[in-house]
Point group: C2
Chain length 224, copies 2
Amino acid sequence: MEKYFEILCMCPLFRDIAHWELTKALRCLNARVFSFEKGEAVMNESEPAKYVGIVLTGSFQIVRTDFFGNRSMIANLVPGELFGESFACAGVEEVPVSVLASEAAEVMLIDCLKISHSCSNACQFHQQMIDNLLQIVAAKNLVLHQKIEVTSKRTTHEKLMAYLMLQAKQFGSLEFEIPYDRQELADYLEVERSGLSAEIGKLRRQGVIEADRNRFKIYKPFDV
Amino acid sequence: MEKYFEILCMCPLFRDIAHWELTKALRCLNARVFSFEKGEAVMNESEPAKYVGIVLTGSFQIVRTDFFGNRSMIANLVPGELFGESFACAGVEEVPVSVLASEAAEVMLIDCLKISHSCSNACQFHQQMIDNLLQIVAAKNLVLHQKIEVTSKRTTHEKLMAYLMLQAKQFGSLEFEIPYDRQELADYLEVERSGLSAEIGKLRRQGVIEADRNRFKIYKPFDV
DNA sequence: TTTTGTATGTTGAAATTTCAACAGAGGGGA
DNA sequence: TCCCCTCTGTTGAAATTTCAACATACAAAA
């Protein structure tokens, strides 16, 4: 467990929890680590929400698949990030998403009730973790608002540009990598892959962007 | 202030806070009540997030308007519901939405910092309110996931049916009223109003639904 | 009652997306 | 090296949406 301390210390869930208290906390929380191969699911749609997951290594994707098999990409998770916390805190019986490993990856799972309910040992850290959870869940809200901001645009062109500008802003550079391949980006933007590829090709020919696989470069913020 | 006690007691923010403590709490929180006319804004896009709002009477809508004036409807709020809490808890400098009164309405505004920071009087209720906030923010997450579920559908037909089925499920009846007029529903579904009206007309003629203003009735769950 | 304004429904052309199918590039393994 | 498979880009036809414009119904105001 100790080998994950570095990443756990960076995890917002353990913010302001003393290093020496972490070992005790993990035991009290009955935290356990699991490994996944690419494509495996940590959490499946319609399961009850019980656990909070912390990405330790690799990366995961939060996706939802509807009745007809249409896939919608919600977010990409990198080490230190959490998932499942909103559903567990809200106590939903059926999570509306799946969480899939997008490469070999490891997570730590914690029973959410163990966070909110103080244990018999009267551990100090519970309160701090609830405060931390509140901030994390609130921040997750912003991620969803961001997706809505992008996907509420009506055309593939507008969605793509909105997404790329947002990424550029977050990376602080007009050149950056995105965590999605074409199909996944299409699933995030809620458009057709072929249409997305066509749009990228068009922007490339117009000299608006440069795109190589998941590496993008914006030349002109707007093609006014 | 006392005249709002009934609605405040039902507000999830004050869940498990003793009735006798509420008066003290409101004073400690420096809670204040404001009135708004239809169309007025309690909160504007790009303002810093500072307050948590509680709807006391009337109703409000959370909307976002982009660069080009395209409006996107996020949610409708009725008495007892909160808004702004996610942004305030996440400490964002620019809220991504506006909150507008959809009729004459009243809200109670509370400085979010006063909730999370214990006061000098060492009031008891702060901790309970943080626990409550966590659940509220987590639930807000579900509302956003729900909107994404609906709007990720590709056609107006699918979006509309997904929305209506969801409403029917929440009302527990195939007959119900929605809180939006046609333009607002179009803004929620992220489609064109005229296209939405056309689709509603089609479904009506096919006998799939009955629709009069904001009152809907579903005859056949699916038009397989 | 008449007027005015808003909400809703309709329509047809233009723009865009979806869909299905295929081609080329590149990586990994045999 | 060759083969296989995945990812990306292209394309053209069909389906759908957007856009602009107008008709109608209804409610509030004059």
